[in-house]
Symmetry: C2
Subunit: 259 residues, 2 copies
């Protein structure tokens, strides 16, 4: 099998466009490059959604917002096609979610795409720094009791991602991830999940996480907040990336620090 | 004197529009509300600057981008006038900077305003948590050796702000500020200023900071990076807020965490 870890983002997108590697998770793909969540909405909802994202920039750091009908990702991926270049997509329609391989069947002229920073962008860096235990390959996601900034129909609780981190590594995980503020940055909580509205760490969206001795649940703002907002707003039809299958950009993920 | 700390943002903006409190720093004004840096450019430069900001979202979190000619701040301040409602402005023209009270004399039809999250938004919260020593009233700003993401003519080193924080409070300062990712979030460095290109902590832009025993220099990404980018790009004419005199919004600064 081809090594997607060391492949150029544009080559990966070409494979995906040709129908290969569909439904695979993009974790560790194109090491060193930013990956983005996708939220794709009809133009009539775009203004409210953009305000929603700007008001919750920790969860939804906007790296690019397309014009209506624009297929490519601006500076993030010049020859890209947002309808085909992620491994999977989610159709969100009246509170249901359906996974599909591509979005080619839909009229695109009125659609606006939001490219949102994703923590997959720094997963490899955490591994290199020996901060992820073998138990942290999946992504556990939770709804919290934290109110998002509201805009128009978009009103929901903040969604967070969680990783199991050794308590001895808490300081280092905080320091390293804080250097990536454009992809959620530092954790926003650890210690007491119940305080942010999570009574049961096994009751999550996505994969459950196994803890080993000394592991602590560490939480970050999460781009899945967009899905939650689209569901709660009961939009007629919108699209997102598929779970764990996001968009690989041509822009390097660089820490804002030389250490 | 009126108590600007407890005043509503819209009332403060009205006073400023009437010429009162000009050239005063906005630190601690309108407690609990977001304050924003301003970068105002001719439309022909706006696309490149927006990409520059999105590529450096830690330093330049975009809370609102106006249409060309738009005077008000969208959801950030519905009845605002960006030409008058900050205490001071800077005209950046061919690498010179000039401070003025307002921008009423300029044709606005072609100007695009970027409202950028500012750490003044959480200063009061740091004081309440006893994390700022009396020596930390001013803001010391430094150029670093960290390359910004480049876009068009905008290419410069990251600018950071610095506060003197007791070494005993480092963990808490990290935890608290990480809950405000939309206004720069957690520190990106402490320990060794030389590592990020700062050989002399007294050689700064803005006010020098006095250190007391056990204080450590803590650095955050800073919106002044916009000024640096405009200067380095040698733009013919652009505007920013005046030093320490930023724009007070109607949007509450809420932490993304209940603790």
């Amino acid at each position: 099998t081809m090594n997607l870890r060391s492949m150029e983002p544009s080559s990966i997108r070409t494979l995906l466009r040709n129908g290969e590697h569909k439904r695979e998770p993009t974790t560790y793909w194109a090491e060193g490059y930013k990956q983005t969540n996708l939220a794709i909405l009809p133009r009539k909802l775009a203004k409210d959604f953009e305000e929603f994202a700007r008001g919750n920039l920790g969860a939804l750091p906007l790296l690019y917002v397309s014009k209506a009908g624009e297929l490519s990702a601006g500076y993030l991926g010049k020859n890209s096609d947002v309808r085909t270049d992620a491994p999977a997509y989610q159709i969100v329609a009246n509170k249901t979610r359906t996974i599909v391989d591509n979005l080619l069947e839909f009229d695109w002229s009125d659609m606006v795409t939001f490219y949102i920073g994703c923590s997959f962008s720094f997963t490899q860096i955490l591994v290199e720094n020996k901060l992820l235990t073998p138990s942290t390959k999946g992504v556990s996601i939770f709804r919290t009791n934290i109110d998002c900034y509201e805009s128009g129909p978009f009103k929901c609780k903040m969604v967070v991602s969680m990783k199991a981190i050794s308590k001895h590594a808490l300081s280092k995980i905080h320091q390293i991830t804080s250097k990536f503020p454009d992809v959620h940055g530092a954790p926003i909580h650890y210690g007491n999940p119940a305080r942010i509205g999570i009574p049961d760490i096994n009751d999550c969206i996505g994969d459950t996480t196994d803890f080993v001795e000394n592991d602590v649940a560490v939480f970050w703002c999460c781009g899945f907040t967009a899905v939650e907002a689209l569901m709660q707003a009961n939009v007629e039809r919108a699209f997102t990336h598929g779970p764990n299958s996001v968009f690989v950009t041509d822009v390097k993920q660089e820490a804002v620090n030389t250490e």
